[in-house]
């Protein structure tokens, strides 16, 4: 069963466009939504949540059309938008007392347990919580109203490595029983290497690839060779960088011919992102 299906989202702005964005998230898994700043990650997430009017496209949550059942669907979704905090001058207690009324399945007991677990002091103002704590507070809210899908926009941005690692551990714990699904966007690729099951890569408003993490990485190869060798593979490379020793370039694994004798290695997510964005720059 799919927790989330996004099909053919198109949205045009004056200087930016989402082009036929489609991907699927299976129930019980974590999907990392990666892309450079300005690639359209937030726009896509906002389109999914009907905060932005799209020209075309369908979003299904647990196999139901999101827009047609928006209120019901929102009861099942938890959110955190990194860097966007609400009512920061109010105390946690007060904000929760308002939010809980919106949710039919709100469970006070669960909420108290998560506050304890995340060590959130209810009497603090939101502004007094650290960035990591604020994400955890959003998670506590989502889990207390029985959300089954978490949509998180850059939840790890601005967190120190310890807080990030801690948060990623929590994500993994949450999906353990197979009921919770998480879609989170980030440009910090090491987060995904730690905890994502699936990767969806967005570049310049277009989905480049969306599949299992290992399959995603296996799609590409990083080539290292001399300047002379570069000429023989130049056309097949997604992009490349030259240095005093020769070149380093990214290639689709299916285009690689081992007989040409160029050294190849498995790239990491960061390298895939860097070389793809370099490809765009080539034409600028």
């Amino acid at each position: 069963m799919f927790a989330l299906e996004v099909k053919g989202i198109n949205k045009k702005y004056e200087h930016f466009e989402l082009k036929d964005v489609s991907f699927e998230l299976k129930k019980g898994y974590i999907m990392g939504f990666i892309g450079a700043n300005g690639a359209g990650k937030t726009t896509t997430l906002k389109s999914i949540l009907n905060m932005i009017h799209v020209e075309s496209g369908i979003v299904k949550v647990f196999e139901q059309n999101f827009i047609a059942n928006e209120i019901e669907m929102k009861q099942k979704i938890g959110y955190a938008f990194g860097g966007t905090d609400f009512y920061t001058r109010s105390r946690v207690k007060k904000v929760t007392s308002v939010i809980k009324n919106f949710y039919t399945n709100w469970d006070d007991e669960t909420y108290k347990n998560y506050l304890k677990k995340f060590e959130i002091n209810e009497n603090k103002k939101i502004i007094e919580l650290s960035a990591g704590m604020r994400v955890k507070y959003n998670l506590a809210i989502a889990l207390s109203h029985g959300a089954k899908l978490l949509i998180l926009d850059e939840p790890t941005s601005g967190l120190d490595p310890v807080a990030r690692d801690n948060l990623l551990d929590i994500f993994q714990e949450l999906v353990e029983d197979g009921e919770m699904s998480i879609l989170f966007s980030t440009h910090i690729t090491s987060d995904l290497e730690k905890c994502a099951d699936y990767i969806t890569y967005l570049n310049e408003g277009q989905i480049i690839n969306s599949c299992e993490k290992d399959a995603f990485i296996d799609t590409y190869l990083l080539l290292n060779g001399s300047e002379k060798q570069l000429e023989t593979v130049k056309n097949k490379l997604i992009s490349y960088k030259t240095n005093s020793f020769g070149f380093t370039g990214l290639m689709l694994a299916k285009d690689y011919d081992p007989s040409i004798g160029i050294k190849s290695a498995v790239p990491n997510l960061e390298e895939i992102m860097i070389y793809y964005s370099k490809k765009e720059n080539k034409y600028v």
Binding site: K46, L49, M51, I52, H53, E70, I71, E72, K74, Q75, Y79, F81, T84, D85, F86, Y87, T88, R89, S90, K94, V95, S97, V98, I99, N101, F102, Y103
Partner: protein, 217 residues
């Protein structure tokens, strides 16, 4: 809608703005003053503060993420404006009654706090609502120009009404002359003002809803 209204009253509107009507209402005790200014303080102080706070506290994103319709978001915000306007007018009305008892023989250049005057105040608030609400919900973010247009319109209305009260015999008679003793006429003016306020605010809400539906948050 009820939950959104509670959110507005508990989180969005600072408690100061529930006290402000008492402070501005007390201005009715200034003898022979230009009393149209009293309800105007709501437009000059409360509206920019509340709508500025919506932006700084990311209220629109917060509201849209809740399991509610966009229509209910507009409704709750319009209800809050209307409730606060009523609070300002009712409290000012009470201070107005005290004022007329304190100074029974006062000579008024501008309108005295008669029922007819309060009817005009309702019309003034209606005028603000029909301008501010639809213009604000075009973006659900920019409140500066909608506020300026709304305030300028109320200033023109108040200045025009006061001017007519001075130069036009009929208007003078209704609001300052023999008409002030005509309870039926005065009540009619007040009820007429309230009915117009209700109808116009409802139209403003409908226009706001239509525009907010198209907004990308």
């Amino acid at each position: 809608m009820y939950n959104l209204l509670i959110k507005e009253l508990k989180l969005a509107v600072s408690p100061l703005f529930y006290i402000l009507p008492f402070l501005t209402g007390a201005l009715m005790l200034i003898p022979g003053w230009l009393y149209f200014i009293v309800p105007m303080y709501f437009l000059w102080i409360t509206i920019p503060n509340v709508y500025g706070a919506y932006n700084t506290q990311n209220d629109i994103v917060f509201s849209v993420l809740m399991p509610v319709t966009k229509k209910d978001i507009v409704k709750s915000k319009v209800v809050v404006i209307v409730l606060l306007e009523l609070l300002h007018l009712v409290i000012a009305f009470i201070f107005g009654l005290i004022s007329t008892h304190l100074y029974p023989n006062m000579y008024y250049i501008f309108f005295s706090p008669t029922l007819g005057f309060w009817g005009l105040s309702f019309v003034m608030m209606a005028l603000f609502n029909i301008i501010f609400i639809p213009l604000y919900f075009k973006t659900a973010q920019k409140y500066g120009l909608p506020l300026i247009y709304g305030v300028v319109a109320t200033l023109v209305f108040a200045a025009g009404a006061e001017w007519l009260g001075i130069v036009n015999t009929t208007v003078y008679n209704i609001f300052k002359g023999a008409g002030t003793d005509n309870a039926l006429l005065q009540s009619g003016l007040l009820i007429g003002g309230i009915v117009l306020f209700a109808i116009v605010s409802f139209i403003a809400y409908n226009m706001g809803t239509k525009r907010f539906e198209k907004v990308n948050v």
